[in-house]
């Protein structure tokens, strides 16, 4: 691919100081986002995906949070070197974010119009009048009926799905280059989820925004993403295109994730779960974080973190099974994705 890189994470490490000790939430993440693509970061709760997105926005509260190491290169500039003032100019203008819970993400005592206008006035230095006009346009863009009336309403007058549209409108206000969507549909009803995903796809087509989609829902990933990064225990354990991850996964954790996805045409009505729980990141494992739950774990997995092995195309996987000395293992039959997702 020769597409321009817009965002690059290099060896990002984020820790949190808690009463129970230091939690190493993100332990060396490398990621690349290209212009106009949608990259999905997939993983279960506590895998570090939300922390990664917050780190990009510079929203890690410190203390207790601390970015220990690494670089976040936005168009070649390291955001971690930016002053507070500089990063505030990037936030909302170049990179913006959609949050998980639309019920709490809006200020309850402020008209939604004002909430959209704030960012516009700050970043584009336009008059209140123009900002308001733009806010109405944005509400129309995200599919809110009667935008010129609803612009003066308060968040509680909107339904959950409508609020998420408002949140998206806020994020889109200044035509950002990157949109980070942190579980944008998790808190919504299934029918509304589809609408929001359609909306996001529409917007990407119209505006060419690059999207980082944080989710644990593989259905959403299949719907929206071109590339996928699978996170586990604060590390990216596999990355590749959507097809590579869904049809040729190499990491046992990815196998597990795909197997645990309920399928419409499955012969069995049993749900396949991955046994065990994610590692305690106060005492991060020396080796592969997935080893304790991995049915194929070998002695080497416990003590040594595997390197990335590149396979065909852009797929990279961190697993000892891909070492030439390891026994050959075939992926389980349960991972088959119908392709109709």
């Amino acid at each position: 691919m020769t597409v321009e890189k817009i965002l690059e994470l290099k060896n990002l490490q984020v820790s949190f100081e808690t009463f129970g000790g230091e939690v190493q939430a993100v332990r060396g993440v490398d990621l690349t986002l290209h212009k106009g693509e949608t990259l999905a970061i997939v993983g279960e709760s506590g895998s570090g995906k939300s922390v990664t997105s917050k780190a990009i926005m510079g929203l890690i509260e410190s203390p207790p949070g601390r970015i220990k190491n690494g670089e976040i290169l936005f168009e070649g500039n390291n955001l971690l070197k930016y002053s507070k003032h500089q990063i505030q100019k990037v936030r909302g203008k170049d990179i913006s974010m959609i949050f998980q819970d639309p019920m709490t993400a809006l200020n309850p005592t402020m008209k939604i119009g004002s909430q959209i206008m704030e960012g516009l006035i700050k970043h584009q230095e336009i008059s209140k009048h123009d900002a308001r006009k733009r806010a109405i346009e944005l509400l129309a863009l995200v599919g809110i009926p009667n935008p010129d009336k609803r612009v003066d309403e308060f968040p509680h007058q909107f339904s959950g799905g409508m609020r998420q549209r408002v949140v998206i409108a806020i994020a889109l206000a200044c035509n950002p280059k990157i949109l980070i969507a942190d579980e944008p549909t998790t808190a919504l009803d299934v029918t509304i989820q589809a609408q929001i995903l359609d909306l996001m796809r529409d917007i990407q087509e119209k505006m060419g925004t690059s999207i980082i989609l944080i989710t644990h829902d593989l259905g959403v990933v299949a719907n929206l993403a071109q590339r996928v990064a699978v996170m586990y225990g604060g590390k990216i354990i596999e990355t590749g295109t959507l097809d590579e991850i869904f049809y040729k996964p190499k990491h046992p954790y990815t196998w597990g994730l795909l197997s645990s996805m309920p399928k419409l045409h499955a012969k069995t009505d049993k749900l396949l779960a991955i046994p065990g729980t994610p590692p305690d990141l106060r005492k991060p494992p020396k080796g592969c974080p997935f080893a304790p739950r991995c049915p194929y774990a070998m002695d080497v997995c416990i003590d040594h973190m595997p390197q990335y092995t590149a396979s065909s195309g852009s797929q990279k996987t961190a697993c000892w099974l891909l070492d030439e000395r390891a026994p050959k293992v075939d992926p389980p039959s349960t991972i088959g994705v119908g392709g109709e997702a």
């Binding site: 909302g92 913006s96 949050f99 809006l106 200020n107 309850p108 005592t109 308060f154 509680h156």
Partner: protein, 308 residues
């Protein structure tokens, strides 16, 4: 919203009636004669006075009369001030107490909010701890002890401020400040909790993600939302102010209703006690009512939820 206001209004009327009745009945239970030099008076003299003040009539009739008069702005006649009306005495002293109370509330709310906001923003720093130590001291130390200390140090020992009375603006400083300590402490603590809660909410992250500066986030999003619940403690604060004013006015010899109330208690001046109780209670009931309605007006969630 209208239904809610009406409901509150009904409570207000019921409570008011209960207070008037209770006050009246307690006054009937009071022992002793209310006249200043009853011991020296003859039976006939007392009978004449009873006649004048209507004390020889049956209790229910006295009650109905009292209520009727009350609605005409007549709270009876003071036993101590030779036939001056309670309404007249109270209306003379009322502005003084109101002024002192308002000054104390302004000082207290301003300092309290500042302490609370700083403590909330700079949570778990020396700022936070200092503010909260001030708050614990303010809540713990009774205002009359604080007033006595201030009076001793700044008026008696170093003579920076006048010891007592209510002549010029300089006389206001010590009493208003002593009265405000409880307000500072209560508002400061409450505001800190609210700030901390607001600062942890998701919409603050949204505001930060828009690229707003820290100051914009604090002023436009945090303080406004944290302030709304503070309105709810105005009712209890008002009682604190009245309680404080009784002792503060006594200490600084301020001719307000608080000082008058204490004197009336010493002298068994029933009509004055009744009048003052009714004034205090109506003010309190009215403030609680206003706070309830105001809260609905300010918080759009309540305002519109009630209107639908």
């Amino acid at each position: 919203m209208i239904r809610y206001t009406f409901e509150r209004l009904c409570y207000m009327v019921v409570t008011f009636f209960v207070i008037v009745t209770l006050t009246f009945l307690s006054m009937q239970l009071l022992p002793g004669t209310p006249y200043r030099n009853a011991a020296k008076m003859t039976k006939e003299q007392i009978a004449v006075l009873n006649e004048t003040y209507g004390l020889n009539q049956p209790v229910p009739i006295q009650f109905v009369k009292y209520i009727t008069n009350m609605f005409h702005g007549n709270l009876g006649y003071s036993f101590q001030y030779d036939g001056r009306s309670v309404t007249q005495i109270l209306s003379e002293k009322f502005p003084i107490s109101i002024e002192l109370g308002i000054e104390a509330i302004i000082i207290g709310v301003v300092i309290g909010l500042l302490l609370g906001i700083i403590a909330g923003i700079k949570r778990n720093t020396i700022w936070d701890y200092t503010s909260m130590i001030i708050a614990v001291l303010g809540i713990s130390i009774p205002s009359f002890i604080f007033a006595a200390l201030l009076q001793y140090w700044f008026a008696v020992k170093y003579q920076i401020f006048p010891v007592a009375y209510w002549d010029g603006p300089i006389n206001r400083i010590l009493p208003a400040f002593s009265l405000s300590t409880i307000v500072i402490a209560t508002v400061g603590r409450f505001m800190r909790t609210e700030m901390v809660e607001v600062l942890q909410s998701d919409y603050i992250t949204t505001a930060e993600a828009k690229g707003l500066t820290t100051m914009q986030v604090i002023f436009k999003h945090s303080i406004r939302n944290a302030l709304i619940p503070v309105i709810t403690i105005l009712g209890p604060l008002f009682v604190n102010i009245i309680t404080g004013s009784l002792v503060i006015e006594k200490i600084f010899a301020i001719p307000g209703i608080g000082e008058q109330f204490v004197t009336s208690i010493y002298t068994n001046d029933y009509p004055m006690i009744m009048g003052t109780t009714i004034i205090y209670s109506s003010m309190f009931i009215f403030i609680v009512f206003i706070v309830d309605v105001l809260y609905g007006v300010i918080d759009p969630r309540i305002r519109l939820a009630g209107g639908k």
